[in-house]
Symmetry: C2
Subunit: 67 residues, 2 copies
């Protein structure tokens, strides 16, 4: 399974969902769903915005775990 670790990065950056939302320019509902792994796909443009806002790499946000 693929795990989304946006929450981990938010904690590291001491950033709120509201703040992240402003930076990426999506609706808060949307950001919340991504953060909580409620999406089945992700646009690369969105991943790019997340990486830019959180100053990190896709690998910091996405994780693969067997089983």
């Amino acid at each position: 399974m693929i795990i989304i670790n946006v929450d981990v990065m938010l904690a590291k950056r001491k950033m709120s969902v509201t703040e992240l939302t402003e930076l990426v320019g999506l609706t808060m509902a949307n950001v919340s769903q991504i953060k909580n792994g409620k999406v089945k796909a992700i646009k690369l443009s969105t991943l790019e915005k997340l990486c830019a806002a959180l100053n990190c790499q896709p690998g910091d946000i996405l994780e693969y775990r067997r089983q």
Copy 2:
């Protein structure tokens, strides 16, 4: 921008596109497009299959580069 490094992983694993296609169970046309960065989004289920087939992490496949 987000760069897709499936080609790098294929080289590391000495694996062909045909072989990868069989492992992930998508059409070859599709795998080829992903490999060559011709997609604008990716399903997490597909990313998962790629990671499993290439025995790697999302971070090995996806890379964020500024500008």
